[in-house]
Symmetry: C2
DNA sequence: TAGTGCATGTAATGCGTTACATGATTTC
DNA sequence: GAAATCATGTAACGCATTACATGCACTA
């Protein structure tokens, strides 16, 4: 029962109740996409596999001629989710092109190099605005489910401030 | 002249002077690896391609029987680097398994869910220690080249504090 | 009736890592 | 003389995205 990157998302999203592959995809876009994504190309095959392994059960939810396959967590599925939640790995993978630019920015005239830092600050500001929009629309999540969004908001605020501080420091 | 993810690293690393593929790999491990990585499987083919495109020039630096190919930036290579540095894209890609765990942690008994947050804090603390070690050994970088490390230090400090604050908030 | 959203799925593609092959030189 | 480091390179693999194919149902 080896797991891929989508496995936990699928199991987790089914925790609150049965969903279709399409539903899961939508839920991911609304919530985890900015730190954990999932594409149809992963989702549908994975659901099949999990059903074959007995971690989820599939029932037909078609209405009329429109096909719809609804998946639910089974008991083994619940256990698998809980087991994964208790793992202690804390893998953070970061890929940040602007940071790479900053690293090489000494190759630019100073004014332009400072522009790279300003771009960074603006990037944080933009993303912050997006998350604030999302936060407005979001209902009252349970305690822990609310944390990633809170984290995102705090992170971009911090990042913006970091840029401002460095800009201050680097401009006489 | 389409560029892949390694292109800018290669050009940037050659800015200060000629290097071999092996040298570049080592430089990446020491400096950019935590936000931008590069493997031999990318590096060597890319160096060939860049040489074919005239962005770098290859000279033989073999000593005795040990082969060594040393690459240097050409004028077009310098321009290409500068052009990339002036781009304004600010793509930050994040993949954070612990954040995903937090998102689903309501499925755990509260005590264990808080453990997920504590794991996160410990992860930040560990990485912070690693970067502090690196910072000790690092010489005086030029202004901008020093920024990514400064960022890393500040980020993990912030992240640790964020966890502490949330732990406080969630424990009565 | 045209457009949008619901819904499932796969094939092709691209990208990056891992693993391996090979061998020289330096250091302990 | 063993181990570590220098050094180049490629093939296989795994993983994720993109793009496409297909069609129903609702709504403006």
């Amino acid at each position: 029962m080896s797991r891929s990157a989508v496995t936990p998302v699928v199991l987790g999203m089914l925790w609150h109740g049965p969903l279709s592959g399409y539903d899961i995809k939508r839920a991911v876009e609304r919530s985890t996409a900015f730190f954990w994504r999932a594409s149809y190309g992963q989702l549908y095959p994975e659901l099949k596999r999990l059903a074959a392994d007995g971690l989820v059960s599939a029932t037909d939810g078609s209405s009329g001629d429109r096909p719809r396959r609804v998946y639910a967590l089974t008991e083994p599925g619940r256990s698998a989710l809980a087991a994964w939640l208790r793992e202690e790995r804390t893998t953070v993978q970061l890929r940040d092109e602007n940071l790479l630019r900053l690293f090489f920015a000494d190759a630019l005239p100073r004014a332009q190099a400072l522009g790279v830092l300003r771009d960074r600050r603006d990037g944080h500001a933009e993303r912050l605005a997006v998350l604030q929009q999302i936060a407005k629309g979001a209902g009252a999540d349970p305690d822990f489910a609310a944390l990633p969004l809170r984290w995102g908001l705090a992170f971009h605020e911090w990042g913006r401030r970091w840029c401002d501080d460095e800009l201050q420091r680097l401009t006489p």
